[in-house]
């Protein structure tokens, strides 16, 4: 079986202006959403308390709300979570000292209201200081990952490729995060981890394409950079699509079967993998081309050490 006809000759680079406009538009929407609507940050970053409870019967959400309000917990958000019996309660950051006991108080209150026919499933409490730290660490993690990758690719390939791959990664990260802002899906710690995994994945894709571009620059005696890149993209196209497809397959399984907690995580990866596949074809290669990559830059300067360890 084959996804594509043998020996495709699609003119990817010829459409680069169109791709540029498309990417530009997506980036604008993503950035606009992030700036205008902001991210719906989870309590990992904002601080606050989250309580998940499971009732013996289907939960009566308005009743839960009423019980909480009577108990003095105003500003609580109550929503169904996964099954009709599960309820998720979010409480905003409260004054220091009070908040660490709040989950116990809330559960005691709910339990009393239904004669103990409710089970505590999960409590997450994050103090304001910790939330700030996680936000800082998260942003730092993304930056450090990008820097480390920039250095590795620059060493293994060439600075134009390094820059091109980082441009593609920033593109993927902004669009993925932007979609979370646009749809107001909660952005929590696992989602951040997913964004970092997207960086890893998208890079994986980009490297495979670059690897082939380098090989073809060295092998093919003639042809403009544009043509060489086009040939390389066509040669790697079925692999790029195949790998994305298998990854998307498992992510769909994770998204639908992995449970409510892992939802955002799986969604971020799904979006990231799809955007990453697109960007490794259109953004990373286009960037390298526009930065003026040429045959002269890629002729071997030294012997490569890795090739000798072939299996």
């Amino acid at each position: 079986m084959r996804l594509l006809k043998k020996g495709t000759t699609l003119d990817f680079m010829g459409k680069r202006k169109l791709a540029l406009v498309f990417s530009g538009a997506m980036l604008l929407v993503a950035l606009g959403a992030i700036l205008a609507r902001g991210l719906h940050l989870g309590i990992d970053f904002t601080g606050g308390t989250l309580i998940e409870v499971a009732y013996a019967q289907d939960a009566d959400i308005p009743a839960v709300r009423q019980v909480l309000e009577k108990g003095g917990f105003t500003g609580a958000s109550v929503q169904q979570f996964g099954t009709p019996r599960d309820v998720l309660i979010r409480l905003p950051q409260l004054e220091e000292g009070k908040s660490k006991k709040i989950s116990d108080d809330v559960f005691a209150l709910l339990s009393k209201a239904v004669d103990g026919k409710v089970e505590l499933r999960r409590v997450e409490f994050v103090g304001p200081q910790v939330g700030d730290e996680l936000t800082e660490d998260g942003a730092l993690a993304v930056l450090v990952a990008l820097m480390a990758i920039l250095i590795y690719v620059a060493l293994r390939f060439e600075w134009r490729f390094a820059l091109g791959s980082v441009i593609a990664l920033v593109h993927d990260v902004i669009i993925t995060v932007g979609l979370f802002a646009l749809l107001q899906i909660e952005f929590d710690l696992p989602v951040l981890a997913a964004v970092l995994a997207v960086i890893g994945y998208s890079l994986n894709d980009t490297i495979v394409v670059y690897d082939r571009i380098r090989e073809n620059f060295r092998k093919l005696r003639k042809g403009s950079p544009e043509e060489v890149i086009n040939i390389s993209l066509n040669q790697t196209l079925s692999r790029t699509l195949m790998t994305s497809f298998t990854t998307v397959l498992v992510l769909i399984a994770l998204f639908f079967l992995g449970g409510e907690i892992i939802h955002g995580f799986a969604f971020a990866l799904l979006v990231g993998v799809i955007v990453g596949t697109y960007s490794s074809i259109y953004v990373a290669s286009t960037a390298a081309l526009m930065l003026g990559v040429s045959k002269a830059d890629l002729m071997p300067v030294q012997k490569e050490g890795v090739v000798n360890n072939m299996p």
Binding site: R121, A148, I149, T247, L254
Partner: protein
Amino acid sequence: MNRYPLWKNLLVVFVLLVGFLYALPNIFSQDPVVEITGTRGATVSKSLQADIEDALKQAGLQPKRVEMEADRLRVRFEKAEDQLRAQDVIARKLPANYTHALTLSPDLPGWLQAIGGKPMNLGLDLRGGIHVLIDVDMDAALQKSMELQVVSMRTFLREKKLRYVTVKADGMTVKVRFKDAATRDKAMEAAAEEFRSMNFSAQDDGRSFYFVAAVSEAEQTAIRKQALAQNITTLRNRVNALGVAEPIIQQQGQRRIVVELPGVQDPGKVKDLLSATATLEYRLVAGDPAQAAEAERTGRVPPGTRLYHERNGAPILLKRQLIVTGDQMVSASSGVDQQSGSSAVFVNLDSKGARRMRNVTTENVGKPMAVVFKEKRTVGRDENGKEIKKWVEEVINVATIREPFGRRFQTTGLDSIEEAHQLALLLKAGALAAPIDIVEERTIGPSLGQDNIDQGFTSVVVGMALVVLFMVLYYKGFGMVADLALLLNLVLIVALLSILQATLTLPGIAGIVLTVGMAVDANVLIFERIREEIAVGSTPQASIHAGYAKAFSTIMDANITTLIAAAVLFAIGSGPVRGFAVTLAIGIVTSMFTAIVGTRSVINLIYGGKRVSKLSI
């Protein structure tokens, strides 16, 4: 062509064998177990084992097996109800310096245990339990150490007969005031000799003469470290009293402590116990009740004294100087006072505290001594509704010293036996060197943990089935080989996680799912190359060879960059995110082995050294 040397085939077989062996413990069922460990140097012994076995037999309980390991005794049961009943029996039988905890442990055959086989370590999000992150108030620790510095400076100057006016703590310095420069200079010289870690300087303001002794940066760092270490010890003691199996108490960063308690059901109780701060102080009484009433009325207390209140509200003047505090108590138990019948705490002091207590009581026979119960409590709210926490200090007991005493004594005056019990527990665990605050909590109920395992397992299986099916459709024979590699990859991941005892979390399972998707990537790269080679007219054998060779450096580059991302995740992330990074990294490494070396050895076995006209790809 395309034949692996024997050693390479053997390597593949060996790795897989080891992989299967170490993944094996994960499929054994778990026994309910009561685990017994010694504290404070006590070790489990044969005689203890015999005692426990006897006690269980008398209670009509038949353990499945009793195992002795280096530092612990495991009593296995068939049923969870037996385990619970046995817990009561064991609790009554067990000497005070042993603790017991309920846990689950797989019933592995001896040979598997002998090679160190263990099941994967499940994270709290999978097994249920409580995770709390505790912040230690370092400013308070420093302040407290400054109070001690002031006391020792005062004592030193008094002993050396150097007349000072006042000794005060001022930030991280001790400021001592003198009447004249000559005494100041003499005192400063002597003190500098004694307190070598402090930096001394002289200061005058025309009328008074001071010397200022500053605590060095290095010393402050040492104080902070000490406070953190002592808090960890104290928290560990308190957690041990809870009887939780496999608790984790460890430092995180400069001023944080992580406490993880698997399987605990009541987060409220745990948090109360962890952050409780009650302690006792012993002080001499100064002046009579009339003076105390006078002091309360005017707000002026005689020098060297402080005004306290008894539990009934009556004012009482106590000397500022402490005799001993809860820090110096090495053990404590609660009980009932034989004479009065009221609840009491029986206390044992350490040698330094005992010496001091003996000295003070010898000098003060016939005089009254007071016991102060100190507890940090919420006393109200300020105008912003913020809780105000204060040390509440109550005099629970005033008694006349009838005769000198030292190491062991008892204190009465507590309201109830529960209060005495709680206080004894806290005294035994040791006081917290500095106040703590819980800054993060994550509790996972047991049912959610099981759900997470089930859902994680289902998504791995379904995701994998989809990929396996697709690979066979797309690459036929070669696809089957890749699928075999994929299954073996999963076994290797489980084996490595078990060997490393890395913690498997829900995001960790997601990491496995993701590696399943990405693990086939290496094979896709290789197979696409082989197809390309065939397309340009190479022979099947040459195509296989070239396919593997050309894809290799691409696979390396692609995987190393993903490893970089995983490493960054691991370094910067916490808890669950780390779990994801670990499985992702392990998955990348194992998939490179199975996808490159593993598939090649199978392909070589199928096609190698034969005349082949067509490949099934």
